[in-house]
């Protein structure tokens, strides 16, 4: 199963790509990211703290990047161990495209999986945390780019995030994917960008 979403960022693609490549920007925007360490070309070690309800975990993971077409797209894959909390893994295809005047549509298509206690903890909590993390990231990111426009854009995005997060209760797996997407997309995009600098 795949999850996808598109965010509108109030800046042209080249600027957004640049910002996504600015480690300071990413570090400021990504909640919980503790360190990023380059292992080899296209591969990084990431440490990130996250809390989902009663489960607090520090994820240590590897991120790998492939299919990079600057400044329009790339694929990120992530595999992280959260100790007793479980694990998260998945991959996301991210692309940037112009959208109207001076705006960029940032689209991600992701599949992901969380396991162990994280999977067990419950969709409502994980949904909420995933949505909030994603929203926080984009809100901060957009604020960085164009502070005046932040409020209205983040409002619209928060709505989209909630809609995406609301999986069918008992039906399944959408929340897991969504949670992983949030973690993977946000964290890994950041890491990827950082690594390129």
């Amino acid at each position: 199963m795949e999850i996808s979403n598109t965010r509108i960022v109030p800046a042209p693609p080249a600027v957004v790509w640049g910002a996504l490549n600015d480690p300071d920007v990413l570090k400021d925007c990504l909640p919980g990211c503790e360190s990023i360490e380059r292992l080899s070309e296209g591969e990084w070690r990431v440490v990130m703290a996250a809390r989902v309800g009663p489960v607090a975990a520090r994820f240590t993971g590897r991120m790998a990047m492939s299919e990079v077409v600057a400044p329009t797209s790339y694929t990120l894959s992530f595999d992280g161990q959260g100790g007793a909390a479980g694990f998260a893994k998945g991959e996301a295809r991210v692309s940037l495209a112009p959208s109207g005047a001076d705006e960029t549509a940032l689209t991600y298509v992701a599949k992901a999986q969380v396991g162990g206690k994280l999977a067990q903890i419950g969709s409502r909590l994980v949904d909420g945390v995933a949505a909030k993390m994603t929203d926080d990231f984009f809100t901060r990111f957009i604020q960085r780019r164009r502070p005046a426009a932040a409020a209205e854009v983040s409002g619209a995005e928060a709505g989209a995030g909630k809609a995406a997060a609301r999986g069918a209760p008992g039906g399944g797996i959408s929340w897991i994917r969504y949670a992983a997407i949030a973690a993977i997309v946000v964290v890994l995009i950041i890491l990827y960008l950082r690594a390129r600098t």
Binding site: F87, A119, Q120, P169
Partner: protein, 790 residues
């Protein structure tokens, strides 16, 4: 002894144990704190299926407060956990019994599988250290659904079980069934899923294990329903210890429902480790650990067919069931979907030919074993769902189609091995009809329709086989244990009594019910009787409590011991009263010479037994302390009819239970209040299964998605109606109490009654089928699908 006996049998005596429980004076395993105690934490697999490439515990061992870290590789000489029931496949081969290691060896097979044991000074330190254990997993594809697990190309869970098949077993005369189907006027077919459930006792599993160098013995406090069985399995089969060197104590236990019958890895590893670290070790499961590691229940996929003649008489039934075992065989897993399931498919009916084939399958999930009712709710669900369907298809009223097929002549030999000793199914059906005011239902339905609501009525006429079990019968069917019970009545010199029973109370009120039996039989105040259970160091032996067996089997063992006490008392009285032993009568606590006013009280006899100054020492031993073992000659057969009435909001799919009535025959009843409480609890559990509960694993990753109370819907008080319950009595013919057992009945009858009511309510919309649980989402979708198809 019968219900009519004078005294306190049949009285709703307030529970002796409640003062302790209600004032916080209960003593549960987690309340046990031993000097110099350490704490355990189990590192569990986050993967449903993976090879373990390596485990590095060095950092964990160096962490603050850590005493020891053990993995599967350390447990050399420790065997796997055993399965207590051998099932033989139709081809004559024994079931596949792959190793069930105490700590994983080379592979993990479900989320929650035990990978390492960390022992530390505090619980937090053990937990923190477990995060430092580096396990390199090679993740494998997982399969969680039993039907998927049988498909070609499914991930292979055990090398020893090709195709993930544990066994294919069958019962009944297939040729007779085929012949009956060939001449049937009508055949009803049904596909059913019996939803997987997670047991949720209020008290999670816990253990405290210790070792004494002084006498090389172990003591284990553990949340168990059968401490002697736990000791036997752990010492003889797993750890290779002398049985007398392990004392198992199951103190107050806060609910079991089957989940605390089994020998689990945790306490086994802890007993083993307690000698290595030479300090006591304590562990209590967190609730989220309970979700992944307690043995689950149900998880059947079934196809059933019922053949009927033109008058709606059942001619034959054909059932094919695929039953999940989970990743490993739990202690009694193999007998649940066979011996305790297929043998019940006759229900209350005279169906002359029945054939059932069961395929047991390994899946990448927690083990599946007995859960309140254990096989019998699954059987009742199949029978009562298909009987409803047949009635609807043939246009026969629900009570009428049942009546047309009731067994009325006893003893009755079913085509699936059981021999019912007694019952009166018309009586309980009539009783339930009355309780439920079935006559008034059409008016209630019409009134609900005016409000835009759908009203439905559903029946379930269940039977169960309880009082487990005649050991020779069980043995012939593959049991690797006896199923008798032991009781000991120790009369103290001053006439008070301590009873030691092999039954174990974890909510059933034995301390009261058993004391009522003793007080009544000996004619002494109930306050003078204490019941001791759950300690292999004090109780002579026991097979424990499950399968509604405590009163019928454990209670009977006590009665047999009481008979011996009275018999010896008569000898002593005969000596004191200078009369012939045969002339001594015992009644209301007095031994008297028949036809005279000469008598001795029970207290006088007790004192004489311990102060034998004037005593027939040449013929009789002093003391008054008698034991008895009782092995039943047959199962007991509680039965009854449950009627559920629901009202459904077609806009939201919400099912509201408008009424639930249960008329049960449990044989003679010692304490009606306790029986009613058992019925209420059972009904709530069965309604939970039918309306709310469902264990869901992610079909791809094998992750447990319903791993907390946010996603696993436990029933709450406001989900329940006010139950209407009543009883009818046909005393069991083969035990002196005439008792049948009542612990599981509620959970056995109610799921089918509720689902039949839901289907009845939805029938006008064209909904023909629904699997449990009848959640608003499922009901709403069923309504929409029916609308779309119309």
């Amino acid at each position: 002894m019968g219900a009519n006996e004078t005294g306190i049998i049949g009285q709703s005596v307030r529970r002796k144990e409640d003062a302790r429980f209600l004032t916080g004076a209960g003593q549960y395993t987690d309340d046990v704190t031993l000097p110099n105690q350490t704490h355990a934490y189990f590192l569990r697999s986050p993967h449903a299926h993976a090879k373990i490439r390596s485990i590095d515990t060095s950092k964990a061992k160096a962490a603050p407060g850590v005493v020891a870290v053990y993995t599967g590789a350390d447990l050399e000489g420790v065997n796997g956990l055993p399965c207590g029931w051998l099932i033989t496949s139709v081809d004559g081969t024994p079931m596949k019994e792959p190793p069930h290691p105490v700590l994983a060896k080379g592979k993990v097979r479900y989320v929650g599988d035990h990978v390492a044991l960390v022992v530390a000074e505090t619980r937090s330190q053990a937990k923190d250290a477990s995060e430092l254990i580096e396990v390199d997993y090679d993740v494998l594809p997982a399969v969680v659904n039993p039907v998927d697990a049988l498909k070609p190309g499914a991930p292979q869970i055990h090398d020893e079980a090709p195709g993930n098949k544990c066994y294919t077993w069958s019962i009944g005369d297939k040729a007779a069934v085929d012949a009956a189907f060939a001449k049937a006027a009508h055949v009803t077919k049904l596909d059913l899923v019996n939803n997987r459930l997670i047991p949720n006792a209020i008290e999670p599993r816990a253990a405290v294990a210790s070792y004494s160098r002084a006498d090389e013995s172990y003591t284990l406090y553990v949340t168990s329903q059968n401490p002697h069985v736990e000791r036997l399995l752990m010492t003889a089969f797993v750890l290779g210890l002398p049985e007398h060197k392990l004392r198992v104590i199951a103190p107050d236990v806060g609910g079991g429902f089957g989940s605390k019958i089994y020998l689990y890895a945790e306490e086994t590893a802890m007993v083993w480790a307690s000698k290595r670290v030479n300090r006591p070790i304590k562990w209590a499961a967190e609730r989220s650990e309970s979700f992944v590691s307690d043995a689950h229940g149900r998880d059947h996929v079934t196809h059933a067919e019922l053949a009927l003649d033109k008058d709606g008489k059942f001619l034959a039934m054909r059932v094919r069931t695929t039953a999940a075992m989970g990743a490993y065989l739990s202690t009694f897993a193999s007998c649940i979907p066979t011996i305790l399931y297929a043998t019940l498919l006759a229900g209350q009916y005279t169906t002359p030919a029945i054939h059932c084939e069961v395929t047991a399958v390994f899946t990448n999930t927690a083990p599946v074993d007995a859960y309140r009712g254990a096989g019998r709710p699954e059987a009742t669900y199949v029978v009562e769902r298909i009987v409803r369907e047949a009635g609807v298809e043939m246009g026969i009223a629900q009570d009428e189609i049942r009546r047309r097929n009731f067994i009325r002549s006893f003893p009755y030999q079913t085509p699936v091995a059981l021999n019912y000793d007694i019952g009166d199914y018309d009586q309980t059906l009539a009783g339930a009809n009355e309780l439920a005011d079935v006559k008034g239902f059409p008016a209630r339905r019409a009134e609900a329709a005016k409000r835009g609501k759908l009203r439905g009525l559903g029946y379930a006429s269940y039977i169960e086989a309880c009082g487990l079990a005649p050991s020779n019968v069980a043995g012939a069917l593959g049991a690797r244990a006896g199923l008798f019970e032991a009781g000991q009545v120790r009369v103290h010199p001053t006439g008070s009594v301590t009873v030691f029973t092999g039954s174990h109370s974890h909510g059933q009120g034995h301390e009261t019910t058993f004391a009522q039996i003793v007080a009544s039989k000996l004619g002494i105040p109930i306050e003078n009787v204490d019941i001791v259970h759950g300690d292999t160091g004090r109780v002579l032996f026991g097979m424990g409590t499950y399968g509604s067996r405590s009163l019928a089997v454990g209670g009977t063992a006590i009665v047999k011991a009481l008979d011996k006490v009275v018999a010896k008392g008569k000898k002593i009285a005969a000596h004191l009263l200078e009369a012939a032993e045969t002339d001594i009568e015992f009644e209301d606590g007095k031994f008297s010479v028949a036809g005279t006013d000469r008598s001795k009280t029970f207290g006088e006899i007790a004192l004489t037994a311990y102060v034998p100054h004037n005593y027939p020492l040449d013929k009789l031993e002093p003391g008054l302390d008698e034991t008895a073992f009782y092995d039943p000659t047959n199962f007991t057969y509680p039965a009854g009819t449950h009627i559920c009435e629901v009202e459904i909001d077609p806009d939201t799919g919400v099912v509201d239970i408008a009424g639930f009535s249960a008329c049960d025959d449990f044989g003679n009843i010692i304490n009606p209040m306790i029986v009613e409480g058992q019925v209420h609890g059972g009904l709530a559990q069965g309604i939970g299964q039918a309306l709310l509960e469902s264990c869901v694993y992610d079909p791809e990753s094998g992750q447990l998605l319903t791993g907390s109370y946010m996603d696993y819907a436990m029933p709450r008080a406001d989900d329940m109606p006010s139950f209407k319950v009543s009883t009818r009595v046909t005393p069991c013919t083969h035990n002196p109490l005439g008792a049948k057992g009542c612990g599981e009945a509620g959970a056995i009858g109610s799921p089918a009654a509720l689902m039949n009511a839901v289907l009845d309510a939805l029938a006008p919309l064209g909904v023909k089928h629904l699997d449990m649980p009848a959640s608003p989402q499922r009901v709403w979708h069923a309504i929409q699908s029916a609308k779309a198809a119309a």
